[in-house]
């Protein structure tokens, strides 16, 4: 309705300093946004300097990048519902079920690979729908609903595998999915790249992301703004389950077997990456690239520690400290930036004791 309003003169101007931000402000802001990226570079540089012959090698980087793909995809899966502050604790178990189910179908039931993949994805969609139903229809808090679903999935995984590793008759056509190369780039990395690009575009470039955020801020308000809350919740949970299933397929194809108890251990790293990632790029908002950077930051550091022969417990401690450090540095940067802006305004005011009156334009006829 553009022409409903014949623009009258502005009545009230907000009293604000409208000059450009200072370099210091800009720097502090950038630190908050790109601090973790910088830290990642720093970490790689440090470890490369410390063990140049083993850490700073193409093989090592390649392996770290490839090994982490499964964890990163699960982290991305966890990030999706987290946009609307839904905690999906079933992504780990969904990964577990996916890898077990796929290998069982292919190796035990002799189902063609493509059909098994379709079946696993169908199962993932069903799990996503179930989570949505529990959260929306039964009004359960997302974490409890997905913990419960996850428990059921782990049970089903045990049931399907009979508690045993399935490792016989896994065909090359299945293991080939994850083990090949394309133009020298390992396939898992290409898959990850494709997933990240799609998610980043959908979440950041289209209205999807901000609509999901709005549900976190005010679910009822979002609904009243005409957002189909049910549909977005469904998309988030189904998306998360499907991503987790893809991660599971990738894992099974890489390992070439179906494990009866894989799943829960992915939860912590996934959520840590998602939350740590929320401190990057768009501080305060979980986001896909942030999750990716956070996950790789942690894994490059841990690989470096391992190259230096650090003790096992260090990894666990480091994980915790990295998250605490990352999140709080980003938080501090935001606050510091605000304080710098205030000081800037104060300085200006001190220079011009009576600033141009907010409404002065209007007063001069």
């Amino acid at each position: 309705m553009p022409d409903t309003l014949t623009t009258p003169p502005v009545l009230v101007r907000q009293n604000a300093d409208r000059s450009r931000p200072s370099t210091a402000e800009w720097l502090v802001g950038a630190t908050g946004r790109f601090g973790l990226v910088g830290l990642l570079v720093l970490v790689i540089a440090t470890f490369s300097a410390l063990s140049p012959s083993t850490y700073f090698t193409v093989t090592n980087f390649r392996l770290i990048l490839v090994n982490q793909t499964v964890t990163v995809i699960v982290a991305l899966a966890a990030t999706l519902p987290l946009l609307a502050h839904y905690l999906d604790a079933s992504v780990g178990p969904m990964l577990g079920l996916a890898q077990g189910l796929a290998v069982w179908l292919i190796a035990v039931r002799d189902v063609p690979v493509w059909l098994a993949v379709v079946a696993v994805l169908a199962a993932a969609v069903a799990v996503g729908v179930l989570n949505t139903l529990l959260v929306l229809r039964f009004g359960m808090s997302s974490i409890i609903a997905t913990l419960a679903t996850g428990s059921v999935l782990m049970g089903l995984l045990y049931l399907i595998t009979g508690g045993r590793v399935i490792f016989q008759n896994v065909p090359e056509s299945f293991t080939g999915i994850a083990r090949g190369d394309l133009a020298g780039i390992p396939l898992p990395l290409l898959y990850l790249l494709a997933i990240v690009i799609v998610l980043e575009v959908v979440v950041v470039w289209t209205p999807f992301g901000q609509r999901m955020y709005s549900m976190d801020g005010n679910l009822r308000g979002a609904a009243r703004a005409g957002i189909d809350v049910n549909s977005y919740t469904l998309r988030a949970f189904v998306g998360a389950a499907v991503l987790a299933a893809l991660a599971g397929l990738l894992l099974a194809s890489r390992i070439g077997s179906g494990q009866p108890a894989v799943g829960q251990q992915f939860l912590l790293p996934a959520f840590a990456a998602a939350f740590l990632g929320a401190a990057v790029l768009r501080p305060g908002r979980v986001n896909m690239l942030g999750t990716l950077i956070a996950a790789y930051f942690v894994s490059f550091t841990i690989a470096g520690l391992q190259h230096l022969g650090a003790a096992t417990w260090i990894e666990s401690v480091f994980n915790g400290v990295a998250v605490i450090g990352g999140v709080s540095v980003a938080g501090l940067a935001v606050r510091r930036r605000r304080r710098l802006a205030v000081r800037h305004v104060e300085r200006l005011e001190a220079e011009h004791p009576e600033p141009p009156h907010p409404a002065s334009e209007r007063d001069r006829p």
């Binding site: 090592n60 590793v165 490792f167």
Partner: protein
């Protein structure tokens, strides 16, 4: 006291029971070994160790090899074996380093990646199942780096180790049931509180059940499956134990377990229920379990001579680097022993060298080779 429970069937003093009793007697404080494939084990194939049962011919170690040794998890007996192998390698002029596998498939992946980045001459893994590290193994094999799996059996998946050195898990399990058969004079009633999540444990379960079934007066009350995660959950293990106690009452006499994890919770639950008469058997001779056996809380534990497998692993590497075929696992000849309250060390530390001087045998063999 050694008498079986009153309401069970009477002692069946047949030849099988006598054989079992004989083996137990020889194996307590002494060593037992077997011939043939581990999966086909029967009581008849088990012998008292007298003479050297290992290999007698090998190759000359190549000069200047570098090893990466991936252990299942630092702080366990895996690490002990890994460190031992590293020491042996250094003795023959090689370099070696130990990498932590952190006990999970993801940890194994990371460790394999670290190993691959170092481009070693060969890799030894300790207690890492083939199926959980298949991609890592394949990656190394593609770079022409041989991989020797210690404490790992041939699983028959699409990717396998270049050579295996078993740590006699199946053998130890068979000794577990043998102990029970002997102790109960052929009337044992037992629960297998087992983990079937690992192929080598499935093999151990199948074989030991077969051996146990040959005892006519014995009875498997139940095979109760649980996962490693459950074993690590003290409350879960106590619940399971409680349910077994309630379900079988005084019929419950023996509990077989595949590893030390969670056994202390089982024992705590038995003690809480006042059932100190139930005998818990475990294997792998982990120090805390041996301590528990020495204290009388746990009935018995079993172990294959540790350190021997480290030599066997280096020997496999020696052969592979020399271009020879690997030694089949059945010919490793690693013996095992039984720990009871009488011979278990209080502090859990076993001086394996005092049983047999395998180190001297292997060194001599290598220096003798051309």
């Amino acid at each position: 006291d050694d008498s079986p429970s009153a309401d069970g069937p009477g002692p069946v003093d047949d030849a099988y029971t006598a054989k079992a009793a004989d083996l137990v007697e020889k194996g307590t404080g002494g060593l037992l070994y077997f011939e043939g494939a581990e999966a086909d084990l029967t009581l008849d194939k088990i012998k008292k160790y007298q003479d050297w049962s290992g290999p007698t011919e090998s190759a000359k170690p190549v000069a200047g090899a570098r090893l990466s040794i991936i252990v299942c998890k630092i702080g366990t007996s895996c690490e002990e074996v890994g460190r031992k192998a590293a020491a042996i390698a250094q003795q023959i002029g090689w370099s070696a380093e130990v990498i932590d596998g952190q006990g999970t498939p993801e940890g194994f992946q990371k460790a394999f990646a670290t190993a691959a980045a170092r481009k070693p001459s060969a890799v030894i893994t300790v207690a890492i199942p083939e199926n959980q590290a298949a991609d890592g193994i394949r990656e190394l094999q593609q770079s022409k780096i041989p991989v020797v799996g210690v404490s790992a059996i041939k699983e028959g998946g699409s990717v396998g180790f270049d050579a295996n050195v078993s740590s006699r898990e199946t053998f130890q399990s068979v000794l577990q049931v043998t102990q029970a058969i002997a102790e109960s004079k052929g009337a044992a009633k037992a629960v297998f509180l087992w983990d079937v999540g690992y192929p080598h444990l499935v093999e151990a379960l199948d074989t030991s059940r077969r051996v146990f079934a040959a005892c006519t007066g014995c009875q498997v009350l139940e095979v109760r499956e649980r996962t490693l995660a459950q074993a690590g959950d003290p409350i879960e293990m106590q619940n399971i134990t409680t349910s077994l106690i309630q379900k079988y009452g005084n019929d419950l006499q023996y509990i077989f377990t595949p590893y030390g994890n969670g056994v202390e919770s089982v024992i705590a639950a038995l003690q809480a229920a006042g059932r100190t008469d139930v005998k818990v058997l475990s294997k792998n001779a982990e120090p805390e379990r041996l301590g528990s056996v020495a204290k009388g809380d746990q009935f018995a534990d079993f172990g294959a001579v540790r350190g021997w497998n480290a030599y066997a692993a280096i020997d496999q590497v020696v052969r592979l680097l020399a271009g020879q075929p690997a030694l089949p696992d059945a010919e490793q000849g690693i013996p095992a022993t039984i720990f009871r309250q009488s011979n278990a060390p209080d502090d859990g530390k076993v001086d394996w060298n005092s049983y047999v001087d395998f180190a001297e045998r292997y060194t001599r063999m290598w220096s003798a080779a051309k």
